[in-house]
């Protein structure tokens, strides 16, 4: 009996020291990976500045600067700070609802997620991105043959839209397992057609425990030669009242800066 206990103890030590046990327990489900990705991309509540750049095939650019606020999984507001012609415009997203506030029009108009308030390859769903888990279910996870910067094989997390109100039917998210951050996302329509590819670049430490890609870039086979870039700055946690994410507050987002 003593001998048997020794053998069992020996096996346990072997598994612990060779790292097999931590590896087994460390394996996350696809849904857990999705939650991790969401949390690593942004804190539950935050404010940030973003620059959006639309690049045309001839190299000419159009730039927008937005002040962004996010609360919970599905509330996002963005205020245009530049160019001057767009200054004061605001967009709000609460779940499947999206509104655009134009100072001259003066009241929030409902907009569709597939439209784009800035033109270019990013649509409203990309600009007012809520947590991926709010819109998608993680259905499978597999090891990809593609490798990340760390040299390790990327993980492919496959996401399926919860409803047909979501902008893209499927997402193929390639994850760097070391960084626990997406490297690229392929957005696919229900027909199987690739709508766009979103690239995550320049991992940056924003402080207060937030380390995420500072650059998000996208191109699309539907817009050959065009690309759009989103650069994050001053991303930091911020607690806000729920009432900020209401249509009545859209004209006053500037007061929160």
């Amino acid at each position: 009996m003593k001998h048997f206990i020794k053998i069992i103890f020996g096996f346990i030590c072997f598994f612990i020291f060779t790292g097999i046990v931590p590896e087994i327990f460390a394996q996350k489900t696809p849904q857990e990976w999705l939650v991790t990705i969401d949390r690593n991309l942004n804190p539950p509540q935050y404010e940030a500045y973003r620059k959006l750049i639309n690049v045309e095939p001839d190299g000419s650019r159009k730039e927008f600067v937005l002040y962004t606020l996010k609360q919970g999984k599905e509330k996002v507001a963005a205020l245009f700070l530049s160019p001057v012609s767009e200054k004061g415009r605001a967009t709000l997203r609460v779940g499947d609802n999206m509104w655009l506030y134009i100072p001259n029009v003066g009241r929030p108009l409902r907009i569709a997620s597939l439209q784009s308030v800035t033109g270019g390859v990013f649509n409203n769903a990309d600009i007012l991105r809520v947590d991926y888990q709010a819109e998608y279910d993680a259905i499978s996870l597999q090891e990809s043959q593609e490798t990340g910067k760390s040299g390790k094989n990327l993980l492919q997390l496959n996401l399926k839209a919860k409803t047909n109100a979501v902008a893209y039917d499927k997402l193929e998210m390639m994850i760097d397992p070391d960084l626990e951050s997406p490297v690229l996302i392929r957005a696919v329509a229900a027909s199987g057609m690739l709508i766009k590819t979103i690239y995550f670049k320049n991992i940056k430490d924003f402080g207060e425990g937030i380390k995420r890609p500072a650059v998000v870039e996208t191109d699309s086979p539907l817009y050959q030669g065009y690309k759009s870039v989103m650069i994050f700055a001053k991303l930091k946690p911020r607690t806000l009242a729920e009432e900020v994410f209401t249509t009545d507050y859209m004209g006053r987002i500037e007061t929160l800066r």
Binding site: Y67, V84, S113, Y226
Partner: protein, 403 residues
């Protein structure tokens, strides 16, 4: 050599692309912005219109107009109060001298107090913009009327006090808000809003709720001395991600009359990025086709002295009949032409079957520059609203620079 330089150039371009000097956008206590527009308009007249001989003694075929418009907007932002001012100045030169004009006015100017943010109190000149419709807003009780020919045009506000309280979500409502408005009418305050009323106190209340994907508003407006009560309701809802419906219903009730205005509309975004807006509008106080034809016949047959006031009354109103239909199709960046939006709008007087067609080409190729070419065509039988329009065709070119 070139091959050796290429990667470093590419890296430099990438670095430039990804640079973001965020400190430039630090908020300031005082900020301002402006917009200057140069507008060139050619109007081709309808010589058969009953209004033509009243306006022109000679056989004018067309008029050329040149206009410069400047809009300045400023904001002072203190701890819990803010001051907003927006003014407009314009100068218009026309080949018809009577039309030449210079104008400057305050569009909006109000003091906003938010000591109890998100609740807020605003005092000053303000444009409320009630309603959900695009071309028509029956529930816009406390505003200057919108022009369905140019629904996005700026309008002048009214002097008022407005309080907004946002209770937020409760009892199954995803969001709620309450707005109370006081609008005085005096000889020197809002005197041009309802010029036939020298003294009045108007009180308004708006209750808003978001239920799932539907916005709903209830409106109540009461005039103290006139004893008129207006009430209305509107809604807007996303049926699917690219399909929205909206509607408005308004009643104006006095001891002498009970008027009804209603609107039903939809917005639909197709897979190839064409946005369709369709609206039908009804106003029980409008004229029937026979009544409006009678008015035009009166103008035609009366002496110029008697006809001119009647003509002026018709021309001031943007809608004169009971029923209208509005259809607009706008294509976003067709043929991969970025920042280019062509649109076609059709305004149909459903009572007299006259049409107003507006074609627009909007192009914003660079930051702060917008170019707009617009062609408007009025058509219809004799003694119909658009058939009797003084201008049969209108070509407008507008360049706007924001600074």
């Amino acid at each position: 050599m070139c091959v050796a330089l290429y990667p470093s150039l590419t890296i430099a371009q990438e670095d430039d692309l990804y640079s973001f000097e965020v400190e430039e956008f630090t908020k300031k206590t005082w900020e301002w912005k402006g917009e200057i527009s140069a507008i060139s308009t050619t109007k081709f007249f309808n010589q058969d219109a009953v209004a033509f001989p009243l306006k022109f003694e000679n056989e004018a075929i067309q008029a050329e107009e040149r206009e410069i418009q400047i809009v300045l907007e400023s904001r002072w932002d203190w701890d819990w109060s803010r001051l907003y001012v927006m003014g407009e100045a314009s100068t218009l030169y026309s080949t018809i001298p009577d039309v030449n004009a210079e104008d400057a006015f305050l569009r909006e100017g109000y003091w906003q107090l938010s000591k109890f943010d998100p609740s807020v109190l605003e005092i000053g000149k303000r444009l409320l913009r009630w309603g959900k419709g695009y071309a028509f807003n029956p529930v816009a009780f406390l505003e200057r009327p919108k022009n369905p020919e140019d629904p996005e045009a700026s309008r002048e506000g009214l002097w008022m006090v407005q309080g907004l309280w946002i209770p937020g979500a409760f009892s199954g409502l995803d969001n709620t808000s309450v707005t109370a408005v006081y609008l005085p009418l005096r000889q020197d305050i809002n005197e041009d809003y309802q010029s036939h009323i020298p003294h009045e106190n108007v009180w308004g209340l708006k209750l808003y709720a978001l239920i799932d994907t539907t916005d709903i508003d209830l409106y109540f407006v009461q005039s103290e001395e006139k004893d008129e009560i207006n009430w209305g309701v509107d809604f807007a809802s996303n049926i699917t991600v690219n399909f929205e419906i909206h509607g408005e219903y308004a009643r104006k009730i006095d001891s002498d009359y009970d008027e009804l205005q209603a609107l039903l509309g939809l917005r639909y975004l197709t897979e190839n990025d064409v946005t369709w807006i369709v609206e039908v509008y009804h106003d029980s106080s409008g004229w029937t086709a026979e009544e409006s034809a009678e008015r035009y016949e009166q103008i035609e047959n009366k002496s110029p002295l008697k006809a001119k006031p009647l003509l002026s009354q018709i021309q001031k109103q943007k809608t004169i009949s009971q029923n209208y239909g509005y259809l607009q199709a706008s294509a976003k960046e067709p043929f991969e032409w970025l920042y280019f939006t062509p649109s076609l709008a059709l305004l149909h007087n459903q009572d007299d079957h006259s049409y107003n067609t507006i074609t627009q080409l909007n192009y914003a190729p660079a930051n702060n520059w917008t170019f707009l070419v617009s062609w408007q065509h009025f058509s219809g039988e004799d003694h119909t609203q658009y058939g009797e329009s003084l201008a049969q065709n209108k070509l407008e070119m507008k360049a706007t620079y924001a600074f």
